[in-house]
């Protein structure tokens, strides 16, 4: 047991994790409770924002699991995130039955559409437990089915990226429709309370923040468990040389489907925590750019490190919040520039850079430029028409 835990993380790793968890879960609430005049006090308005970023962090870990460790670049993770969010949104809508603008038992938008009764797929969502199970199961099931068909057909590389993007785009169009029964353009919003507590009160916001932080830490531990296990080794092997792994007797499809589904469910969890904190879920959460931005968080932080993506998500979203307010026209340049520069010069992200620098210091060799490419050429060797260019 002890051995497995140490394999999981070195002693220093555990310590760092404990510190990070303590900061997120304990220190931030404590700082928030301090009087406003105190220099380090965290103002109330920051709490939902931080909670939102932590949800993005969960999403980034989930993305890293499939991209960083298994080499599947999904451009459809926003779909699972939004589905989880919609599940939570449905629960919140059902709980406020009778408190809407129309005082109807149905959600406002249904009254507006002149619907007389609840569509069948809305039943049961007034129970929190049921809603939570469904908001994890439905995206999971979708991912399972889609993944099974896609990986069985050996769709990989950019093809998979494009197909996942198409799937998300189709889903977005579907959710934009009023007839789909999820509020169309406006989505679900105007939530009042969660588990009997008002969503407006600072204590609920703090509770949601803490829940997000705990979920992030648990997600991290779960993913760490996966990637340090034998299963994780196989995943990395699939990333680096899928054919060889297959020939070694590992059915790569099963591994990929598993990690794909797990990742989708984690995204759904993030979405479910995200919605009550921002107070709205609508189809624009599924737009293609969201999934691609998710990829860049992971790339900035460092693929295949688990902690890197979280840092990337926090860093980029912090920058986004600041820049879109301070220099609105500069943000797209910054984001675009990050996309280009990171892929060109930082293939392993910020964390990779730090590791390289540390190794260089340790070795005392200033010119030990070691740039490892996370994706081995084997992934593309299968297609002769795109044969490798000799560098």
């Amino acid at each position: 047991m002890r051995e497995r835990l140490l394999q999981f993380h070195g002693r220093r790793g555990w310590l760092l994790l404990a510190v990070a968890a303590a900061v997120l879960i304990v220190l931030v609430p404590v700082l928030n409770s301090l009087p406003k005049s105190f220099p380090l006090s965290v103002p109330d308005y920051l709490i939902p924002l931080l909670g939102k970023f932590l949800c993005y962090g969960i999403m980034a870990i989930a993305m890293d699991l499939v991209w960083g460790y298994t080499g599947i670049l999904s451009l459809g993770h926003a779909l699972f995130f939004a589905l989880g969010g919609y599940g939570m949104g449905m629960y919140l809508m059902r709980r406020m039955a009778g408190e809407g603008v129309y005082r109807s038992n149905l959600p406002d938008f249904m009254v507006f559409l002149d619907w007389k009764q609840l569509p069948w797929y809305w039943h049961g969502f007034q129970h929190f437990g049921f809603a939570v199970v469904m908001l994890l199961l439905v995206p999971g099931l979708l991912a399972l089915v889609f993944g099974w068909f896609a990986f069985r057909s050996r769709i990989k590389g950019v093809y998979l990226s494009i197909v996942t993007q198409a799937l998300t785009f189709a889903a977005m169009l579907l959710f934009f429709q009023n007839d789909t029964g999820f509020g169309g353009n406006n989505g679900l919003t105007d939530f009042k309370h969660l588990l009997g507590r008002s969503l407006q009160s600072p204590s609920t916001k703090m509770a949601l923040y803490v829940a997000s932080a705990v979920a992030l830490v648990l997600t991290y531990l779960l993913c760490r468990f996966v990637v340090t296990s034998k299963l994780g080794r196989v995943l990395t092997a699939i990333r680096d040389a899928e054919l060889k792994t297959r020939f070694c007797g590992y059915e790569s499809t099963h591994y990929k489907v598993f990690v794909w589904t797990l990742s989708a469910m984690l995204c759904a969890l993030a979405g479910a925590l995200y919605v009550p904190q921002v107070g709205i879920i609508n189809p624009s959460e599924m737009q293609p750019s969201n999934s691609i931005e998710l990829a860049i968080w992971v790339a900035v932080g460092g693929r295949g490190t688990l902690i890197g993506p979280v840092l990337g998500a926090l860093l980029l979203n912090g920058a986004k919040s600041y820049l879109t307010a301070a220099f609105p026209s500069a943000w797209l340049y910054v984001l675009g520039g990050i996309f280009v520069l990171v892929t060109l010069f930082l293939p392993r992200g910020v964390l990779g850079l730090l590791t390289t620098v540390r190794k260089r210091k340790a070795a005392g060799a200033p010119r030990a430029a070691e740039v490892e490419r996370p994706e081995a050429p084997a992934e593309h060797a299968g297609t002769p028409e795109k044969a490798t260019v000799s560098p």
């Binding site: 991209w67 670049l73 068909f149 896609a150 069985r152 057909s153 050996r154 769709i155 590389g157 950019v158 093809y159 990226s161 494009i162 197909v163 993007q165 198409a166 799937l167 785009f169 189709a170 169009l173 579907l174 934009f176 429709q177 054919l243 293609p288 691609i292 990829a295 860049i296 790339a299 026209s329 797209l332 340049y333 984001l335 675009g336 520039g337 990050i338 996309f339 280009v340 990171v342 892929t343 060109l344 293939p347 490419r373 994706e375 050429p377 593309h380 299968g382 297609t383 002769p384 028409e385 795109k386 044969a387 490798t388 260019v389 000799s390």
Partner: protein, 552 residues
Amino acid sequence: MRLAPAPTASRRFAQGLLALAALVLVTGGGGGRPAFADTLDDAVNGLASGSGEKISAAVKQLATLDDPRAIPALDALCDDRLRAGADGRAWIFDSHTHDLKDPLTGAPAPAGARPAKEVELDNDIRREAQPVLAQLQLASPDKSVRLAAAEELSKAGSDDAAVMLHKAYDKEKDKGVHDALALAVARLDIQSKDPAARLAAVQLIHKSGNDAMLGELQRLLSVGADGQPQEPDAQVRAEAKEALNAVMSRRRIITAVGSVIYGVSLASVLLFAALGLAITFGLLGVINMAHGEMLMLGAYATYAVQTFFQNHLAGAFQYYLVAAVPVAFIVTFAVGVVLERLVIRHLYNRPLETLLATWGISLILIQTVRLIFGAQNVAVANPDWLAGGVELAHGLVLPYNRIGVVVFVVAVSAAVWVLLYRTRLGLNVRAITQNRNMAACVGIPTKRLDAWMFGLGSGIAGLGGVALSQLGNVGPELGQSYIIDSFMVVVLGGVGRLAGAIVSALGLGVINKLIEPAAGAVMGKIVVLGFIILFIQRRPQGLFAIKGRSEA
């Protein structure tokens, strides 16, 4: 052309005489001319008289005279352009030049006509004058004037109008006008109390197949509040039912043909995007997410050229498009080559990273265009020779700009084909596509060709932007809406296959538009995306896969 039945005519004639008498008094006998020799002149001048009754009498007089020369005067009356001159005569006022013209001869008014005051008339007179105008216009030698007149008369819906229309219908030689008259007649007759007239009307509608009368047919067949059918006559009902079916099936065919035409035009835009993608993806293995932005840049280049022509070469404005084509190509070609040299060449072999980097580039391009041209959409005008369209059948117009886009894409595809399959450059490119290392070994400058081909792919998208600018508004996000579709085309067609891109673009465009009427635009798109996702499961290499060892 005597139109009205005898009693009405005689009454009119009497009224006309009265009016004449009045006119003679008012105009002072037309300057000493014999009153009856100049009846037309007098009646026209009567239109400019002070009282409503006199105007009305003059209108009736003109109806009796039935002389098309009075059309301008009546037209001016209905449009409030008729003026009563100081000399008591009627003059037509030109609102642009502020000239007064003689209603019959068009000669400019003498100084004595001024000051002229507006003829005041109420809606009753206007309502009287309009059918008379239409009646005169029915005899006009100009086809379009006759058509408009028939339309006007059928709206008026009076018995007189029906008689006039019937006469005109029997006399009409031109087929198009004849059909239009048939409908106008039918629209009146279907309201008639005479079952035979209604039957004839329904039969006319049946024969023409025009769907403008669909509502009337449905009304005949519907059941009133008392449970009785609206149409008492069983024979008429049966005929109406048949006519309804005929009209509906014709409408379905027209809708289907229209969908195919719009599908082909959508396909041609997709093809522009997909051609370039097929080249870059097939040759370089690069997923260029900024490809849609090349469309956008091409469209903005067109806009810039248009603005330049407006400001500096207004005389040659009609030909700005001819200049826009090379400009758009050169701009996007240059952007493509620069991108390849600066970014993409470092990322060969890492397609997933290329995808992200080019996405970043697309964001930068969008923001740059936003800063230069503004975030609002800009409008690019069609030159006159691309405005309008041919009417293939009633309700089916084929706009020239769409025809132009299709012709353009055919020309560009042909040029690309020639370049790839009939030139030495193309041979080299295809060699690289098949085996890059071997091609490099035999001395093909692969690096340089990579840049050129990336530029070419971008340039073709730029040409697509020129085409897009002719179909709709141009905005910074223009490219984003096409990128997913164009990837679908490439994936469906098979990577790097020209024929595949063409066939799948056509297929997707047409299928999309065919599903649209049945399921709505959004559902159509969802169905198509779903279909592609399923299709790729079955054939990951696309429709036109290159035979190779890649399927291992």
